[in-house]
Amino acid sequence: MDKTVNQKAWFLVLPVFLVVAFSAVLPLMTVVNYSMQDTFGNNQFFWNGVGWFKELLDPSTDLGGRFLASLGRNLFFSLVILAIEVPLGIVVALSMPRQGWTVAACLVILALPLLIPWNVVGTIWQIFGRPDIGLLGYVLNHIGLDYNYVSNDIDAWVTVIVMDVWHWTSLVALLCYAGLKSIPEAYYQAAQIDGASRWAVFKAIQLPKMNRVLLIAVLLRFMDSFMIYTEPFVVTGGGPGNSTTFVSIELVKIALGQFDLGKAAALSLVYNLIILIVCWIFYTVMTNAGTERKHQEGAA
């Protein structure tokens, strides 16, 4: 069979090419371009090759030191909020009602924090935690706890973590709830017949049936917390000192504060690469889990 030659398809594809080019490829290439150069302002650029990248990975330099320190803080932050939000989300989902009007009420209440814009969340907690006028800060100080997120590293960390838990545990809980709802009633009845304890039901039925949504929840929460900027920036501005300066905050400081475009470009490329790699790992794990399941269903 002869193929008809028809070049009209180009007109359909071209707009997409253009949009992608202007929205993604060109900006990215600009960043790649900047990352190889140094500038002292005045639109004068000097070739620097892979110099910035070498510095980035070398903790003894200023840039590398700042990058690696903020990266460490960021990873620690992500791990802590995952360690809190995932189990907490599961517990919340498990204790939610299964039927009746309370279901709708619970869903709305859970969804509320998710609907608040990030900088508003930051502002809420910034004010909430202030020792002079904030309800939380005032009460804590009143009962004798010396709490001040502006001057104390640990207080700042606690505030940022509690804020993230408040903001995002709902997401994990809602995903888990959806997973739980999809378990047929017969499983619970069979478990009752088999004399399973509450814990055994959780381990043998609920957790295995939730593992897909949990993986998605972990992926979403890891990515989001690894890229976090607005909320801690509004609350602590990265302080006190540099104690809550995460990678994105550091990046903005270098790019817009110091106007070191070369350094900032190199940093953002590496940052991007890390996110891509982690994303890819999660994606592979998830699709593998998926195909394994399909395999089983195909065999069944």
Partner: protein
Amino acid sequence: MARIDLVDLAHSYGGNDAPQETFALKPVTMTWRQGGAYALLGPSGCGKTTLLNVISGIITPSRGKILFDGADITPLSTQKRNIAQVFQFPVIYDTMTVGQNLAFPLKNRGVPKTEIDKRVAEIGRLLDLEPYLNRKATRLTADAKQKISLGRGLVRSDVAAVLFDEPLTVIDPELKWQLRSKLKALHRELDLTMIYVTHDQTEALTFADTVVVMHDGRVVQSGTPAELFDKPAHTFVGYFIGSPGMNILPAEVRGREARIDGHVIALNRAYDKLPAGAKIEIGVRPEFVEVVAPAPGLLTAKIERIDDLGRIRFARVRVGDAKLAARAPNGFTSSDGTAGLKFDPSHIHVYADSLLVEGAA
């Protein structure tokens, strides 16, 4: 192992105050013998699953008591009752191997490990699951999964009864036969009380030595397959069991004769004390009605068609408004589409308001 007694047991999903006609399970008192193979037979929505779930404790009955060997266990939770149940769809614990699945009910009850291993090996052998014991249960076919569910029901040696809720629904017809024979064999081997819920009469009659027929929330008859066939206690049992079902005809019955359209059919027994005002019907199985050439003294019927089932032929006939099925002997043909009906008097039953009436000899 135990005898199970139901004492005035009833359940309503709408609460105890709902009118009794709406009860999913109307008051029933009966006994399930230790070691019996029972089938709970009835159409969808007749309350058989409700009764099963009440026995296993998934549902708390709104009225009445359940006794295991005389001890009242009505308030006990499912976990505390010694009961096993197998559901319509296979339930498999995904993360466990087949062996761990089988061991699960024993492990939850703190049975010593050596004992668990022994039981799992035995049940694995009985259900032909031995080659799979160390494999993940999720990768098996539907019938193997249902076998695991059965195995979890059978693995406990101390259960009062094993309940099956239409367990073979998802199984291919060919495997259904095998699994059913397997169950029957297991029943003989393990000496367990088994209660098998189904809406399929073949399944019920081949599995059970006692069939309990339910209709509209009520237990209408319980007996051996032969009893259900020969002497249905309720017109529903008559036409639900048997293929084609029993012929039910409105009739006037007096003494030893029944009248249909003025035509007299002789009865073997005398019915003198029929309740006044009740709807009187006679029932006779198609096997005991024969179509013959029309003759004086025989009820005349119009033949609609003749179904050839291979070993036997059934004529579908019409008498007035009533439809009947009757045996058509070999070589029977009708020239004008009419036939005479010859009834076997010893197999005619009389029903008042759908309930069997015993005649006097």
